[in-house]
Symmetry: C2
Subunit: 368 residues, 2 copies
């Protein structure tokens, strides 16, 4: 018998937005950038945008479509995240889904005592070590704001603790250009040289602008530093519905998209081709308690939508998964983590952070 | 400004099988029915199939494609499940998703003491009453095999307890034609007449054949009773992977589809248009413990696939959701219930049972 063509297995995926919805969000974001405009506190950022074709009016910086589209055109469609040993272990590209913890929890659920206590530096190293051993976690984040080291240096200490604890790719946070520079020098030493680090990056900066539409000096400066060096950066704003963002998810998505695109524009103006991870965080602000709800449906629904926006721009996408509002690892934690993890797989968001967050992002749990 | 056309909101759905896969499963099922054949223990069932065009060879009854396709053609695309008061509350039709508990747990997690104990009749009534008050549960099942009533009559007692406890539509189980007759007479009395019950059915029989391909007398007789009376029935086989079904999910789906279609054929031969809910149960048999795993991925993956098979036949579909293998309502329970509930919503299986099952279907939990 003639050998028959094998029938391929399908892998389910969800589509959250129609083509019309995608276009409507994109148009609304362009409107926000060119008609509402942004507040840019960084002089360097301001000059870059003005030179590219933005203008100032009513005290705000307005950015036209062509500047945005040029940046979308020059940004890479994939970010080849390597591990500390130079192996390509996390290619952030269409169809690939990766998971890892989050950054900067002030508290942790102590694994031995079960008590909730302030995070210390050793937590960062231990958590990195745990993640290093877990096959289904692909990258490292600090999971702690350690209170036992000097406040001004804690990001630097955390970075060192992370690369000591694990060889996996690393998503770090920083205070400003100064500790960025220190972290960069350590990373270059680990990689062998600046060129080696650019060729096989094992670290990615996570910084944010302030919703709505505010770009402060430190945050922009960190972003520009990455662009200058040509190393990966993600710059997801957090237009939480009813908080920094409009109360509707559609509004938050239009705003978050506009805000994220400004970050993209800045990096591409400094160095076209800077690896930029697109994304945002659209959690709901709970009006009663003023907490940002990690377990509410707004976040996964928003994620499925912004992932499609990012994909429509040909960019790899930042996501969120495996976190809970619960204070312990209970049924609620299982439900909330599962909803976001399933959504991440179904919408194919590429780099999904916050696995192991409990208590709406304020506490880390190795058990979780 | 001309009033613009509003952009519709999308509701995500998943596609599990490609057109080719659907066709391949359908063809494999037709192969099973016409080449492997079934073992039919009911003489009435045997005569019906022989008269319709089936034949006997090698001690088995073989059913050709045209008999199957005629049944698919005559079965209704929707089942209008009413509540006990005659209101249409659960239209089982494409796009609609409903949830409810399961049937026949020997044990329950006592709500007051927290102890696991044998189920009693009062549990059936109380559970029905709880479900009656829960907006997100749409139908009632017994959730218990009560040990405090006569064994031969426990289905009848459970049916009475269910309609006492709740006005919602009812999915019941029965022993054989005799208690079916009693249940039917009660239902007619409640509805007002036989015609009233057929017009506004508030009950659906849940019976099963035995995988692989065995149709025993009682089960077929119950099925035929429903067809004779023109009242709704579901007849999902349970070709659990590695148990009654092949070890592969594809094989279990082909077998389950074939088995379910035999039930459909029998009902349509007795009375074309008998409301028949298509479906199966493709849980994995855990080889180590010999339990049927309610929390393993085979069941939701299978459900997404068989839902598409049922939809391709234009039939409403039976599903499963909200159950767990865990012995308590813990993180595992949250994870497993969430996976199936999300899958049910995403694949649009119409009637989803087993909400509140813990301990792989052996124990009910009102808390769950």
């Amino acid at each position: 018998m003639t050998q028959q063509i094998q029938i391929e297995t399908m892998h389910p995926s969800i589509r959250m937005l129609s083509d019309e919805q995608l276009q409507a969000l994109h148009s609304a974001s362009l409107d926000i950038l060119s008609r509402t405009g942004i507040v840019m506190k960084s002089e360097k950022g301001r000059q870059l945008l003005l030179e590219a074709g933005a203008w100032e009016s009513e005290g705000r910086l307005k950015i036209p479509e062509h500047v945005v589209m040029a940046a979308i055109g020059s940004a890479p469609s994939r970010i080849t995240m390597h591990n500390r040993l130079g192996r390509l272990t996390m290619p952030l590209e269409e169809g690939k889904v990766f998971f890892g913890p989050g950054s900067d929890c002030p508290f942790t659920l102590d694994l031995e005592s079960g008590e909730r206590r302030q995070s210390v530096l050793e937590d960062v190293r231990r958590m990195a070590h745990v993640c290093d051993g877990l096959e289904s976690l692909d990258f490292i984040m600090s999971m702690a704001t350690p209170f036992d080291v000097a406040t001004m240096d804690h990001y630097l200490h955390s970075f060192i603790a992370m690369i000591r604890g694990s060889a996996k790719p690393n998503v770090y946070t920083a205070r400003e250009r100064e500790d960025m520079q220190d972290i960069y020098e350590i990373a270059c030493a680990v990689a062998g040289s600046e060129t080696a680090l650019r060729e096989k990056p094992f670290l990615m900066l996570y910084a944010e602008s302030i919703s709505p539409l505010l770009y402060n000096d430190e945050s922009v400066d960190k972003l520009l530093f990455c662009a200058e060096k040509g190393i990966p950066v993600t710059y997801p704003p957090s237009p939480n519905t009813g908080g920094g963002g409009p109360i509707t998810l559609a509004g938050a998505l239009a705003l978050g998209n506009a805000e994220c695109l400004v970050g993209l524009v800045l990096t591409q103006l400094v160095r076209p081709g800077t690896p930029f991870l697109y994304g945002m965080n659209t959690a709901a602000l709970d009006m009663k308690s003023a907490i940002v709800a990690y377990g509410a449906p707004e976040w996964p629904l928003g994620m499925a939508a912004w992932t499609e926006l990012g994909r429509s721009y040909g960019l790899p996408v930042w996501g969120v998964a495996g976190a809970t509002d619960s204070k312990v690892v209970d049924t609620q934690a299982g439900i909330e983590a599962t909803v976001t993890i399933m959504t991440a797989f179904l919408c194919r968001s590429n780099l999904n952070h916050d696995v192991g967050y409990i208590e709406y992002g304020s506490t880390s749990s190795a058990e979780m």
